[in-house]
Symmetry: C5
């Protein structure tokens, strides 16, 4: 579970809710028709903008944003280095059993390709294509949240316009002016809230997830090609350590020395 995601969204919600409660009557902020225009309208536009299959995987995408964790880059370095050592000692074929025990399907597939004796250039081409398509799929998912984040305030404003036009067309009772406008503004409030507390941050989190996932896969490709080329495990480590942020690199070296 990615605790930070929950802390972030909870913090934002509490602050807004606190602002509402501190100012008095919270009931004025509940308005079903306004909610329906914003959520229904933005959802409708999002469905129209995206392939149906992507819309259906909404739950899975949200799960990725809130539950998947940042990958342990250090453990990837360690795994690849241990594979490099084993491959050196016992040959590439000896990795077959290890591959089957791996959780990560991309790492498993990479090793399988090498074990199968696939041509190194083809290995690189297949794995790069796979990374490229992963980026494309993820960009599509982000695009869905971007669309929602863009349409929610737009439908919020549409709802406010509807309220204003109805109010202005019927000014018999001046006392109703204020409350009428308050109701009209609630739709704008909903639209902006949904975009800024939900749509925009989640779209950005998905970008972060994609970058993390792509980086781990690039590490696997870099490592597996070096292993296939029969490179020295020491050099494989050198190549992969580059991917660690400086702070981690030190930690990694300390760990190694203490072994």
């Amino acid at each position: 579970m990615d605790l930070a995601s929950f802390i972030g969204i909870a913090l934002a919600c509490i602050m807004v809710a606190g602002g509402i409660v501190a100012g008095g009557d919270a009931g004025a902020f509940i308005n079903l028709p306004s909610l329906l225009i914003v959520v229904g309208g933005a959802l409708g536009g999002t469905i129209l903008s995206n392939p149906w299959k992507r819309v259906l995987s909404l739950g899975q995408i949200l799960k990725k944003a809130f539950f998947s964790e940042s990958p342990e880059l250090i453990s990837i370095v360690q795994t690849m280095v241990s594979f490099a050592e084993k491959a050196r000692r016992e040959g590439l074929l000896s990795l077959e059993d290890d591959a089957e025990q791996l959780d990560d399907p991309f790492m498993r597939k990479s090793i399988q390709l090498v074990v199968d004796g696939t041509d190194p250039e083809l290995v690189k081409s297949i794995l790069d294509t796979e990374i490229g398509l992963l980026e494309e799929r993820h960009a599509g998912n982000k695009f869905m949240f971007d669309t929602f984040a863009e349409l929610a305030p737009a439908f919020g404003m549409l709802g406010t316009l509807i309220g204003l036009i109805q109010m202005l067309g019927n000014l018999d009772d001046p006392d109703a002016l204020g409350p009428g406008m308050a109701v009209a503004l609630i739709t704008t409030f909903y639209g902006s809230l949904m975009a800024n507390i939900f749509g925009i941050p989640i779209a950005r989190k998905l970008t972060v997830r994609t970058q993390e996932e792509v980086m781990t896969r690039e590490m696997v490709v870099e490592g597996i090609l070096a292993i296939q080329a029969g490179e020295n495990p020491r050099l494989v480590e050198e190549r992969l350590k580059v991917f660690l942020p400086p702070k981690f690199r030190k930690a990694f070296e300390d760990k190694e020395e203490s072994q």
Copy 2:
């Protein structure tokens, strides 16, 4: 037919219409001059911004957005693999008859080129150019909807400014202030509605369609070049399965095993 597109646009329309009806007098939202300024102005600007032939193909573009379906990636893999098997068994020339029965003109052309004994590099260059030009044409179509989606709210605001200027220049009757402003705001409402319920989502759907179509064509190119190179059908399958989303890949493998 792409049901999701209809569901999406219907959902958005119903929500907005519901919001109008719930608030009372729906008649206040019908105003022909406002509609003419927004639709006519944005359409005029769109015609000025685009080549005439593109404007004329509007119906066809809308049809693509609402009626064409997401391609069946799995069936492309299967077709290409079966072609690879046939080519291996009976030679490349044996594909000629199959090519003629294909619906997809791009796949047909690809096979025809290979059957004609065209040089592999030239095959790749011709097919890549074709994909690039498809992307350009589609980008042009999207550009037309983007222009409309950008100009509609702008002309909406122009209409509102016209209304405001006329109203403010003539304030003899204070009772007319509210209704006058209501009428002025309707143009903004129309402009925003047209952009957010129609222009923006359809432009985005067209992007999705382009991505889908480009991907299927890239699969065909990848496959046809492998077939021409006489690659093992098993390897052709491996190359193309990369294009399937992970979920589909599993389905594909299950299907294969059950055969």
Copy 3:
């Protein structure tokens, strides 16, 4: 003449003018100082933003937007194929006379280079540089209209702010409030009108023109290099037909068969 450009701008103008007349007093929309602030300010900023030579070629650029027509891609294919046939039959040198009769200076230059026996790589490099520089020049022209389209509403808002500040600083006569604000808003109206009816659509039309011109030139380069390489006219045709939109391709083939 590009009729669509005139139809587009006329449609937008008529709709806005109709909206003004329908609402009553059109005279309220004529205000010289407001017009001067918007046009003068945006023009000044545009002159400051652009090289003087580009500003001077304004007339020519407008002429290109409104009068030049979409190129006849089919006739380019036919010309290049006929050149390929002649070159095959009578040698490359035989193209010299045809080149001199061509209207298009780019096509003329391309053939001249080939007739002069220039090295194919150098031919490609010179022609590609020329296309790249054409794109740069056209991007500069579009940039001028973009600047105008961005500055016009900004100066419109500046004019409105001037009007508002003057009106608010001097509220002795409440009856003057409405008309004062009406006058202030006219500048915003002018700025927005100029951007949306003129600046933005013309900038976009220029983009379309650039794309069309670049594509025809790329066709010429593709064709001329194939001719220089002594390729089969049939193959030259195949290479160039790729550039035609699918619909045209069919028309082209029908035409050929009926010959």
Copy 4:
């Protein structure tokens, strides 16, 4: 001196000033605190956003925007062609004296490298790096004006908010409402004025200057490499003439013929 820059900024200033004077009391538009918030705030943010050395070169950058002139592309072609002729006749070393008399340090350096017998690939790599770094430095300068142009209206709005909050918190005297709001709006006016009359157009002019300078340098690189390769002066001319806009090319050819 780049007259157009002065004409442009003067035109915009006069139009705005005229709009102010035409409307009456110009004194209402002078407000020192508002000016300090906008200029001081935007300047502060710009200093924080940029390296100190760049801020210090502000004067030089403004000088470049207002005083440097568009380069004479034709004279570059002529110089390079005359060098090519001399190099052909008297050898590359004969260019050394000419190089020393050149004003342009880039051209001087290019020739010096060739005279020194540097390897062609290294010449290209050094000169390309230099062009790339010039683009980066110029992009940094533009970035400074972009930042100012973005922050000025933002601080303008901040000043207006300050004014509004103070005015609304203290509504005892309704007569002060109008003038108070007028004062508040002046800050927005200043911010928008500074961005649109100064920041945005100058940032764009700097882009134009960069493009011009890069193009002249690319011409020099193209020319010097051809000279080093001992190419025919006629061909050097052909290569460089491509960089001239079509109109100039004709002028160039006429000039040549009349010689």
Copy 5:
């Protein structure tokens, strides 16, 4: 310490504070709930948008923006040239001791790789990957400030909407209208202040820092590869001097001559 950063932020703060004090009651600008909505909301959204580790390194990132100084490009040239001289005289291995005394870990690592006899292509590949990953990490840090700068005004507007809705829903006391609106506007003020005085300028400063750091590293790579290739120290200097801005180059040459 980067004095300019402190001067910049202080200048902006003083101007805004001065504007507040000049207008009277500064106490009206302190409102805890408004502050909580803006800071808490924007912080929450930023936490949700970013990986937890990046959020934790906030202090370090701020330190980089405010305390790290622009690198001394000249001293890098001098160091690399002196290494080139030593390597020529005493061989590459003689650099090992110098490397250990270097502060900059990147330069140290570069030399270590060369001393270890790593293949030049691999040296380049490892160092380029490291630079690429540095850019990615820094882009992530900037992204965090961008998110904050985008969300702060959005939550400011949300707070203002909350205030307006509460005020409009309860108009019994017309005297409370002004102050109520003043309070509502404070949230917008906070949001805009935080974005423009803090978020945007710091995000931009981080971009500048990244560019500076990347450039110094590219200089090190360029130099170390030349040293490894055994190039003449004079040529190494020539290659690296290109990276200095023109003004510095002259200073550099003067310095050399005076030695």
